[in-house]
């Protein structure tokens, strides 16, 4: 059972990492980054490192994801202002 979980987890990690880097859509990249962080936390938990899993879920996926989403909103706002001014 746990082997099947690991066999699903590893391709999911690699796939989300690759899609996060390769996708041209910024919003999708940020969401994929958060997904990657959560999967990574699962991977740390499977590697019997719950301390790192907690930190990864809270900082890697949560706070960094919130910061990236915020930056995305700021970028979009600025772009909107520029288009209004032009």
């Amino acid at each position: 059972m746990s082997l099947a979980f690991d066999l699903l987890l590893v391709p999911a990690l690699l796939w989300s990492a690759w899609r996060c880097l390769a996708t041209p859509d910024l919003t999708r990249a940020v969401v994929l980054f958060i997904v990657f962080g959560l999967l990574m936390a699962l991977a740390w938990a499977r590697l019997a490192a719950p301390d790192i899993a907690l930190a990864e879920a809270a900082i890697g996926a949560g706070l960094t994801g919130a910061l990236l989403l915020d930056a995305l909103g700021a970028l979009r706002q600025r772009r909107g202002e520029r288009q209004e001014g032009a």
Binding site: L54, I59, A66, L67, D70
Partner: protein, 214 residues
């Protein structure tokens, strides 16, 4: 060109994996050394023992680096008026109100659990910071523009407590060598200070950025 880069990347990955497989086993058995000294560390969880006792010096500098990152952020351009309220809806506000007590409780539990199971100051601080970010996103907490005196004190409190303990113990001949019978209490004191300060620092990395957006 793309195929060339792909082949080069795959070759590098194969070379790295081959090199990794040829590594000899580690010469120093760190887990055994940690297990042998657990009795005098003052805590029962090996990760906390390493972070705050055996390698406390590293953690002290890590906290200093985080504080430095926040100070650097504060020196960047800014001081603009807080961004207008995003008009968060009532549902988000309600959920944030419900979640906040649980978040604070979880942070307190993680801090206390650090002594004997996974947890500790960094995780508890991150959870606290997530709570502050949630409040800000829900429009219940205004973004920070400049740190007031109380906030400044909170930001440096953890580092100062850590440094104070280290300086007091310097009289014993070594930085951060706790006397075994008081190690547990000292570690809890340091971790409590660190939880508050790390929470504020991590939250500040988000809230100051939102507050400074022009």
């Amino acid at each position: 060109m793309k195929a060339l880069v792909t082949i080069a990347g795959l070759a590098l990955a194969a070379a790295l994996i081959a090199a990794l497989l040829q590594l000899p086993p580690a010469a120093v058995q760190l887990p055994a050394q940690v297990a042998a000294n657990m009795a005098q560390s003052g805590v029962e969880h090996p990760v906390t023992a390493v972070l705050l006792n055996f390698r406390g010096y590293d953690t002290l500098l890590e906290v200093a680096v985080l504080l430095l990152a926040l100070l650097t952020l504060l020196t960047l351009s800014g001081g603009a008026a807080p961004a207008p309220d995003g008009g968060a809806d009532a549902l988000l506000r309600g959920v944030a109100r419900l979640a906040l007590p649980l978040i604070v409780l979880t942070a307190g539990y993680l801090l206390w659990a650090g002594a004997h199971r996974p947890g500790g100051a960094f995780q508890a601080g991150a959870v606290l910071a997530a709570g502050a970010v949630l409040l800000q996103l829900a429009g219940l907490l205004p973004a920070w523009v400049g740190p007031q005196r109380l906030l400044r004190l909170g930001l440096v409190l953890g580092f100062l407590v850590f440094l104070g303990v280290a300086a007091t113990l310097l009289g014993g001949g070594a930085l951060l060598r706790y006397p075994p019978e008081r190690a547990g209490g000292l570690i809890l004191l340091i971790e409590a200070g660190l939880t508050l300060s790390l929470g504020l620092i991590l939250a500040g990395l988000f809230l100051f950025v939102t507050g400074r957006r022009s």
